[in-house]
Symmetry: C2
Subunit: 229 residues, 2 copies
DNA sequence: TCACGTATCAAACGTATGTTTTAAACAAAT
DNA sequence: ATTTGTTTAAAACATACGTTTGATACGTGA
């Protein structure tokens, strides 16, 4: 949005706030939170350094705002998806594939704000887990625990054959494969593109990830291998 | 003046270098690289601040040294394990389970330097991938590409049914599930102990992880789910 | 037109960082 | 005893960080 400098018109608040959020979102995804300074963000957003603290209060609050901007509508979409799943099944337990698909398709169907699609959100979610930002973890737990708990309940119904301990660990394995992969999906895509000459979108990665996770979740526990270890 | 460790002749009684490495290893694993300052490391190690730059040259070189201390002997052990695998099979392709077991058992058999066992190494490996430290990535590529390439070749032989792209991504999924889980296995064990009253050792986690990974690797690609996405 | 709350700006604040310097203490070899 | 190299110590270095300040410009309602 170009505004002649001679007009010297004060921009509407949303303009500055959104530009900060856009720049922060990209830089956080590329470099992580600690490695991204407010000066990088404000210079990329072409706003004054003080604007971040003026509009958001602190760097941590800006991080929270970046997450809330995409996580709040995503959780709403996901809740609707869960509603449909439950009404369609009518008390029956959902299949694991259906449950994972609800997660992934809700993510893919989110409106894209830029050319990077949802990969930037996936990367941020991965960073939220792997970087040690306690304030962010607390924020996410406080804001989105309801949707998370609902997913966990549905997952338990979808895998009745697993013991509580097995299910617990396999959830960690799933979470790890997803968060880790997505936390470097852009870098991985670049590598793959150079190595194998294949262009890869996040949707394609997800379509490869879901069968992997579903098969892992439904593996027979205590295979002969596990006893040899 | 900085002198490489290998050239030092007269060794004083002090174990300054090891104390720095021990402290750095733990702090890096707990907090990440950027979030850990040299002052935290030196005060935990109870050495002078200047000792790090004296013995290692820079903070980045210290990070490399932390990785080299456990990665070099691990790769040696792993190479021997691969040797045994190849001579036993005599040209035949190894099974996926045997290959994964070689990886995991080599890790478990590493001499433990502290009470955290190998989980601290797993966590560091995970950080090496997820944190944006280009110098570290370059260091690891230069130092350990031989062993890594050998593993990739064996993995390709063990999964001939997979396309190159499928295999590539599933390796990422495996790596993610492993690094993520092990990076917080101590915390996860504590949670599990309180929640379900079960004590869990790393070896037990690994015995649960391997079947999960093997099943995921051998899942049929392009399940109906992936086409609906 | 005036006053008031909002937004922007350049500048400075205090703090923490990695690194370097200078000096002294120490152990072992000459 | 002297030399040589290793280690500790305290301080300072320059830089980067998040945050705050005070002045100024803006748009809106009175």
């Amino acid at each position: 949005m170009f505004v002649p400098t001679s007009q010297r018109v004060a921009m509407a608040q949303s303009d500055t706030v959104d530009r900060i959020l856009d720049a922060a979102e990209e830089l956080f995804a590329e470099r992580g939170f600690s490695e991204t300074s407010l000066r990088m963000i404000t210079s990329k957003a072409k706003v004054n350094l003080a604007a971040v603290n003026y509009h958001f209060g602190s760097k941590n609050a800006l991080i929270h705002a970046v997450f809330a901007r995409f996580l709040t509508p995503y959780c709403e979409t996901l809740e609707h998806s869960f509603d449909n799943l439950e009404t369609t099944l009518g008390g029956q337990a959902p299949t694991l594939e259906a449950l994972l698909s609800a997660l992934m398709e809700s993510a893919i169907r989110m409106p894209h704000r830029n050319a990077y699609g949802i990969s930037i959100f996936m990367r941020l979610l991965g960073l939220a887990y792997t970087q040690s930002q306690s304030h962010l973890r607390h924020f996410l737990e406080n804001e989105y625990s309801a949707t998370f708990s609902r997913f966990m309940r549905l997952l338990k119904e979808a895998t009745p054959q697993l013991s509580a301990v097995d299910r617990y660990w396999r959830i960690q394995f799933m979470l790890g494969a997803t968060a880790f992969t997505m936390s470097s999906s852009q870098a991985l895509s670049d590598i793959l593109q150079n190595k194998l000459g294949v262009e890869t979108r996040v949707e394609e990665i997800v379509s490869r990830l879901v069968p992997f996770l579903a098969a892992g979740m439904q593996a027979r526990p205590n295979s002969p291998l596990s006893q040899s270890a």
